[in-house]
């Protein structure tokens, strides 16, 4: 456990003052519903792109994936590369035009336009539940870090940080959330980057680190991305390439990055269509680099930490450090006075960006897709802004409750993946069919989404009640938890797609005139022919895709 110096404390306190101060400053610019819920749709591509990524880069990402890389090795980088980049580029090039041109306020709002009210309400309710859970998980993750590193009381950390987030989101809405996310993004990088740099110096560079890992963990492959994925038993994660490529790379990743309103909200706040398309591409370019501050510290922990970390259950029983402690331990190992404060600030900033992202998205969906749709259809703009402000407080309070609930779960990351497979995987099936297939009908969209969500929860319950069922869900008795999550997502997505197609063919098609601006083939997309090559989003998407392929080959 570490004692903070006055300099460290000053850095942390200054951070809290800065984020609340920005909220107060932006309150004067947040007058209408468009300002509060969509930041006035005036964000540049860079602001929207960095905020798009920062909203995802919560403390859970930092701490959870550093832990996963200690546990599973470089395989954890799949969640940053194949589990993100193709989907982000697909969002930019294929899906953003429909979100943007339809002028929807939210993803459930798009479903209302495309499939009608029932699909919107189902998606809004499941999204609301998921964001509150995710926010609570983030909160717990941060409080745990502060408890491990500083010995701070877990309740104190949860309440102080939550009240701060509530304050600046209530004041400035999405505008304040986005501005603070950009600040938090910079602090996360500057606070966490040093661990990797000094760690590589200590380990003797990349090759020195690999040699140390092989020496300390003989017979286990922690440093290859693809070569150990031939069979479930050939890698520490207990998964095969089908689960990674289709479960993660296709369903979970496309579901999250293209339909989770937490991230999509940042993009549709862009000032024009070109900026909205560029934002996810900018986010993807930075996303590819995030393993340097998240995965690498976990690998370095395998190489240099004197003790071997264990799972959460074993850690609780023996008093040893768990996988989740790897990032705090590395921080404590290298960061002296001042830098420790900056590192802690990075973790707190990660927590706040993740939580503010969830809360601002929850507020918009609750106000527009539940309150305005079901409770009070006609009211003034001021009234909905007021409801949004109260909803922010309500969302934070619900998240605090969830944080206490999450404490009961042994593994944070498995819980997150389970949530994604419940809500996000089927939603992707519904949205992608809605955008790309004009024959999909309102009934098809609703029943497909319901069947996909139901089947995912059903499969999860089946394995919970009978662990032997894993061999059927993940197609192998050798599969582990992570493989189960990937395959469950894949099944639920396929169920959603199948039910949507079957029900759509059984029901009357919608006239094409109702699908203009919503569906590919019925919508005239603005031409980019007048732009120079380097100004076109498709060009930069190609550059990012090329770097992505090169990274896969280097770390194969």
């Amino acid at each position: 456990m570490l004692a903070l110096t006055p300099v460290d404390l000053a850095i942390i306190v200054l951070y809290f003052v800065a984020v609340v101060g920005i909220g107060f400053y932006l309150k004067r610019f947040t007058k209408t519903g468009e300002d509060f819920f969509l930041a006035g749709r005036e964000m540049t591509a860079w602001i929207a792109g960095l905020s798009f990524l920062a909203a995802n880069l919560g403390s859970l990402e930092l701490m959870g994936w550093a832990a996963a890389s200690y546990q599973y090795g470089i395989l954890a980088a799949h969640w940053y590369w194949i589990g993100a980049i193709p989907a982000m580029l697909f969002l930019a090039i294929v899906m953003i035009p429909f979100y943007y041109i339809s002028k929807t306020h939210s993803v459930p709002g798009y479903l209302k336009l495309r499939f009608g009210e029932p699909a919107r309400v189902l998606a809004a309710v499941s999204f609301g539940l998921m964001t509150v859970f995710m926010s609570g998980i983030n909160m717990y993750a941060m409080a745990k870090v502060l408890q491990v590193v500083l010995g701070w009381d877990i309740n104190f950390s949860i309440w102080v940080s939550s009240v701060t987030v509530a304050a600046y989101v209530v004041l400035g809405g999405l505008l304040s959330a986005i501005f603070n996310e950009v600040l938090q993004f910079v602090l996360i990088w500057l606070g966490a980057l040093l661990i990797s740099i000094i760690g590589l110096v200590e380990a003797g560079g990349w090759s020195g680190m690999v040699a140390r890992i092989h020496e300390r963990f003989p017979g286990q492959d922690y440093t290859h991305l693809w070569s150990g994925l031939g069979h479930f038993s050939d890698n520490p994660m207990g998964i095969n390439w089908i689960g990674i490529v289709f479960g993660l790379g296709l369903v979970i990743s496309f579901g999250y990055w293209t339909t989770d309103f937490l991230v999509v909200q940042r993009v549709i706040a862009a000032k024009d269509l070109r900026s909205a398309k560029l934002a996810p591409i900018i986010g993807a370019a930075f996303k590819m680099a995030v393993p340097f501050i998240v995965i690498l510290p976990g690998l370095l922990g395998l190489a240099v930490l004197p003790e071997k970390l264990v799972g959460e259950t074993q850690a609780l029983a023996t008093g040893a450090h768990s996988y989740n402690d790897v990032l705090p331990l590395m921080l404590a190992r290298y960061c002296g006075p001042g830098l420790l404060g900056l590192g802690i600030t990075a973790l707190v900033a990660g927590f706040m960006s993740g939580m503010a992202g969830n809360v601002s998205a929850f507020t918009t969906v609750w106000t527009y897709d539940i309150y305005r749709a079901l409770i009070r259809k006609t009211a003034t703009d001021e009234h909905y802004v007021l409801v949004g402000r109260w909803c922010t407080v309500l969302g934070v309070a619900a998240s605090i409750g969830t944080a206490y609930l999450v404490m009961q779960f042994a593994s944070i990351m498995d819980y997150v993946q389970a949530l994604f497979s419940f809500f996000i995987a089927p939603l992707f099936g519904t949205v992608v069919l809605g955008m790309l297939w004009k024959r999909a009908t309102g009934a098809g969209g609703f029943w497909g989404l319901l069947a996909g969500t139901g089947s995912s929860i059903g499969l999860w319950l089946w394995v919970k009640m009978d662990p032997a069922a894993l061999r059927y869900v993940a197609l192998s008795a050798g599969a582990k938890d992570m493989a189960e999550n990937m395959y469950r997502a894949l099944w639920s997505w396929m169920v959603c797609m199948t039910v949507t197609v079957v029900v759509s063919y059984m029901t009357r098609p919608q006239p094409e005139s109702e699908l203009v601006g919503l569906v590919y083939g019925c919508t005239e997309l603005p031409s980019e022919g007048h732009l120079q090559l380097y100004q076109r989003p498709i060009f930069w998407a190609g550059v990012v895709a090329l770097v992505f392929v090169i990274l896969q080959i280097i770390f194969w």
Binding site: V7, E42, T44, L183, G338
Partner: protein, 71 residues
């Protein structure tokens, strides 16, 4: 943002980095004069001195470039 009356977020970031840089550099210089009893691993690199310097440089660049007085 398009609103000309709004201070750029990059200015706020620059100001915070500048203050952080000064604090961290100061802590690093103090460490040189009075080394810690339980130093961190590779304390000999004096990371807080050069990292503090980097933050100051970034902070100055951003506060000057995005200064509200310029717009």
């Amino acid at each position: 943002m398009h609103r000309s009356d709004m201070i750029s977020i990059w200015f706020f970031i620059g100001a915070l980095l500048l203050v952080y840089g000064l604090l961290i550099l100061g802590a690093g210089l103090h460490d040189l004069v009075a080394p810690a009893k339980h130093p961190v691993v590779l304390a000999s690199l004096h990371a807080n001195i050069w990292w503090g310097g980097l933050l100051i440089a970034l902070g100055v660049i951003y506060t000057v470039k995005f200064s509200p007085k310029k717009s």
